[in-house]
Symmetry: C2
Amino acid sequence: MIKASICTIGDEILIGQVIDTNSSHLATALEENGILVARMVSFGDRREEIFHNLESELTENDIVITTGGLGPTKDDITKDVLAELSGSTGTYEHAGQLAIIRGILHGRGIDMLPNNRAQARVPDRCEVIPNYLGTAPIMVFRFDSARFGHPATLYALPGVPHEAVGAIPSVLEDIRNHFHLDNILHKNLMVYGIAESALSEKIAAWEDALPNDIHLSYLPNTLTGIRLRLSIYSGDADEEEERLGAKIEELKTLLGDLVYSDHDDTLEETVGRLLKHAGKTLSTAESCTGGEISHLITSVAGSSAYYLGSVISYAVSVKQSVLGVPARIIEQFGVVSSEVAAAMAEGVRQLTGSDYAVATTGLAGPAGDDASNPVGTVWIAVTGPLGTRTVKRLFRNDRKRNIERFSAASLDFLRKYLEEDLMNN
Amino acid sequence: MIKASICTIGDEILIGQVIDTNSSHLATALEENGILVARMVSFGDRREEIFHNLESELTENDIVITTGGLGPTKDDITKDVLAELSGSTGTYEHAGQLAIIRGILHGRGIDMLPNNRAQARVPDRCEVIPNYLGTAPIMVFRFDSARFGHPATLYALPGVPHEAVGAIPSVLEDIRNHFHLDNILHKNLMVYGIAESALSEKIAAWEDALPNDIHLSYLPNTLTGIRLRLSIYSGDADEEEERLGAKIEELKTLLGDLVYSDHDDTLEETVGRLLKHAGKTLSTAESCTGGEISHLITSVAGSSAYYLGSVISYAVSVKQSVLGVPARIIEQFGVVSSEVAAAMAEGVRQLTGSDYAVATTGLAGPAGDDASNPVGTVWIAVTGPLGTRTVKRLFRNDRKRNIERFSAASLDFLRKYLEEDLMNN
């Protein structure tokens, strides 16, 4: 198996100022292509550190991918170290990257300065993959066995997240052209509303009967549930695709409505797809989730096609005056109740004229248990052509996590309602 | 300077399933205490990998902090490796952690099983710092110079984020008791609405005149602006505190209303503090930001004291029917306009009866330039006792980033309005 190391260069990460998300995206892509990510390392951008760390990672791995250290103010040092490490004796200017730099600066209405132009200049022992999203090119250094005891390749990527992530397809293509990778097929099934241990028990017999060449992974995520991934090393791609597909169908039957997608989707994308396909609209009324559900829904590009809007009724007065929740219901059942959640959903549906509505009322914490509910309680309501339905959930996390989990649970409750209603039509 | 390495153990990070946030929190805490974080490393939880990596990090650093690898199903291997590495010959059960485990399980209504109890058992060469937030104890291994050529300490923390972050104060206390740390005083100033280069120019003369023993750091963050941090190695704490305080006052004068806080605050915390202190209330009306502003405001615990709620008017019909934005204004000026932003803010203020309101209307993208505005445009309005004010901003990011930056700009525009109004009272 091909071994890789992912390195981040720069002090911002070491002092905790920036959270490294590039490494995670790179790792996902490498792993899905059957490359073992053996280590991730972050180090500072001083010459000795870069040299020493890269030498050590190249000795132990087939592929080293670095991000960072290539900004216009800092690129000299990283590039110089890479030049030295690779035995480059000169530099050349890469015409393609220079044209990109010129285009980017022109778009910003800025004249090209010498330090901008210098970014297109690279050590002569490196090949360039153009970076269309920024000024620093992607540099590829290939080392033969004489240098580290085995052939090794270093890819130097910019640190800016969308540039680093944008470089992944070209880097993978280059890896495929220079290394022998097994073909791996993956298929995903997204599951929500069941703990990993219970899920594993539920499909134990099915899992035991899986052919040896099909591998099942559990990839849990607090917010999107569990991603079940089936993988196979493919000889004949069509045939293996069919075998995996059949297994996915079996799993779907076993798991029923716990499955919300057979793509690597989020709950908000799934809800959006259902609504868009049916040409229906949605509104939301949020109390304890404070706008997070609306934020998730509108984070999906194109959501204006089905999402009308929301009333965030944080204060009781807004529940009454804007959503029309009757005071007597609040008095009788309390703000955190099935009845208030239902009235909020119905209120916002009427107010906006949407086909469906979802509402939340609960206690995110940290303090504030009410007479009948502990912190972490949420009542969720969904209303639409099938009538109004409510459900109560209890989570025991901190405020931030509670808000996130309330929101995910609401989207999943809505998703089930939509599936049921739209299947009937 | 004391050197530290932060290690994460476990495959979840290496396959990109989980983004490591623990290392960033640990790094911030270490750096603020004058400890140099020289490297961060992630590796898998196989015996040889753990052993080899920890040995190497302990050889090169004074302090090694690990997170992860201590779950109830996986703790045997990490603990075994640590036992071997430390030359432990037996184990002991830590009574304090056992009591905590019992309490946690009791709270969940679960009986204690042997594998729960086993978590309180640790190698005999380690000291335990109790973990009150979870079942796995924090283990401290001290190595004398004979082992790695210098005294070295390893802290093994659980990987669950709130447990790892919760362990930081105790770990720092232990470090302070066993290493000589310089006392460092820091003071922060939070600045929004100016680029790093422009800020650096603006305070260049002041910075040049800083005494040699006072250090200035620029810590930029897309969402919260730039944190300016002044640090000093303190002899006499009171005296140095006073010197730093005087410098902070100079900076405040220089930077005027670009400064929004002299704590390490977010914009939403600052807005919340102003409102709470004045006993005033706020509502919001969001279009392109889709609930993100409301989400930020309500992420602050206690926000129900001043936040009444929001109308997310994603559809034009909701702007008209719920917020009462006149159709003729929309026709005449377009949805993305100063006039519509103002009408939205005034509409939600009237609807909720709040003292202040903030509203946004804009184009987050990716597609959808309108006749007069490119994607990335936002109009922000704030209304209150000083009347209604609007501002136009243009950002050129992807959808997610645009939404975040629109929201931060809105909170900052609101913050300036609040400061001006509340200062007059």
